[in-house]
């Protein structure tokens, strides 16, 4: 569905993505993990051409998104929902108006239908009582959840999550995890999640890719990922206390 083919991305003299290739298949939850500054969010932005590769190609089905422009790019982007790191809500609109924005701008739905759909997605993310608040009146975590509501309100085929649980309390983080899983299992939404949170990655991901130094050093399902013998992966797992708990449980 989404395929990275020898993608290289340089900013000036700094190489952020160094010849990476992988494929995300339809209907899976694909998680990208790795330390800060390894290019996880940069890779995510390449999927919708918010950034373009220095060389290589990013494919969405048979469309080369990395070269698409105009209508072709717009049509490709319409298949996506994108949860940005900070939520990226428009500051002068209430939470409900932010969530309703894509429906008002892109669809012919009536105001009642829009209001119903907005209430539905706000309830999914636990913000049913906060629709009339401005982004500045809610916490960072709530802004992120509102951003998620806006990302899924148009029922996209693919949702890109950029650090969906960072800065959230553990309970809310697991709620978001369950929501990602729910969207995937009930609606078949393909999800690509960029996260530091390995607990989240291991519980929701069908496959986990680890980026390090601009390269993909491991791609595996969770049960194999934690058995990885790659020193960087082991270090990453140990840093989040995965080894002593999870690995022991599955007799690694």
């Amino acid at each position: 569905m989404i395929k990275f083919e020898n993608v290289v991305k340089r900013f000036g003299r700094r190489t952020v993505l160094d010849d990476i290739s992988f494929e995300v298949v339809k209907g899976e939850v694909f998680v990208i993990v790795g330390p800060s500054g390894t290019g996880k969010s940069v890779a995510l932005k390449h999927m919708v051409r918010l950034l373009s590769p220095t060389s290589g190609t990013v494919w969405l089905n048979d469309v080369a998104v990395s070269r698409a422009d105009g209508l072709e790019l717009q049509q490709a982007r319409e298949q996506f929902g994108y949860l940005f790191q900070g939520g990226a809500l428009l500051g002068w609109m209430t939470v409900a108006e932010n969530v309703a924005l894509p429906l008002e701008e892109k669809t012919a739905m009536s105001q009642e239908e829009i209001a119903r759909r907005v209430a539905e997605v706000l309830e999914m993310v636990g913000l049913e009582d906060d629709g009339d608040k401005l982004p500045s009146e809610i916490s960072g975590g709530m802004q992120k959840r509102a951003g998620l509501a806006r990302a899924i309100v148009c029922n996209p085929d693919i949702v890109l999550y950029d650090e969906p649980t960072s800065g959230l309390d553990p309970v809310t983080s697991r709620t978001i995890d369950r929501l990602i899983k729910h969207l995937n299992t009930t609606l078949g939404v393909t999800s690509i999640v960029v996260t530091h949170d390995l607990h989240s990655a291991l519980s929701i991901g069908h496959r986990i890719a680890m980026l390090h130094g601009g390269k993909v050093i491991e791609i595996a399902p969770p049960e194999e990922f934690i058995k990885s013998t790659h020193p960087e992966v082991i270090q990453f797992l140990e840093a989040q206390f995965i080894t002593k708990t999870w690995r022991k449980d599955i007799n690694v």
């Binding site: 051409r49 373009s52 982007r77 319409e78 990226a88 428009l90 008002e104």
Partner: protein
Amino acid sequence: MITRDPIDVPYTTNPLLSLWYTVAVGAQDVGRATLLIVQSLAGVRRLFSKRGRPAFVEQLYTVGIASLPLITIVALFIGMILALQTGLELRRFNQEIFIGSAVMVSMLREMGPLMSALILTACVGSAMAAQIGTMTVNDEIAALEMLAIDPVRFLMTPRIWALVIMTPLLSFYTCVVGVIGGGVVGYTQLNIQWVQYFDIAIDFARERDLYVGLLKAVIYGIVIAGVACYEGFTAAQGAVGVGRATRSSVVKSFLLILILGYFVTRGFYNG
């Protein structure tokens, strides 16, 4: 497509190559800004739509009504300064009665559009650049693009049209207030009667001066909104980038207003 990779200028120690890169990036900037201006002006239909009208009305208020107090004070004092300076010189030849003409012609031809444009650049243009710049660095512009909402029509069209409409109106208002300011100085310090002052001022007012002044104001309005929005859309690197975009927007608008003002004057008053 607004969200793009940052422009990558290759590092070089060769001064000629460095100059070439600067010129190339500058040309690219001018091309992209011009394209944005054309696209935003072409989106005029959005202003009459149910969704676009409230944003347009809000911009008209921000540009026009909210700037009125400052423009009134500046215009009044500009008129007073003009009257005083010219009056003191003309008095040496017993011709101070003609300050009305000097103030009227200066305000209509240059000072009206110029002063209103400079005030709008400082008050409105800088705020536009800061707001759009903050939206850019917070990924809000990218989010709009991901929602298949065109940021140019959504954000820039109401702003540029508000300035295109309001700058000439404010320019005319500046002229009127400036001429009144000149009259106050004439009456209080140069012993010129109100009626005499206004008779001479109106005698010297030419329709052509008014139209050229209004044309300048329209051009200035496009420049202020175009530069501010472009600088905002291309802001990068967090708060520092927003500050840089705001400063750059004010500096570039000031320079363009002066340079374009000269060429329009040259075009219409070339002897």
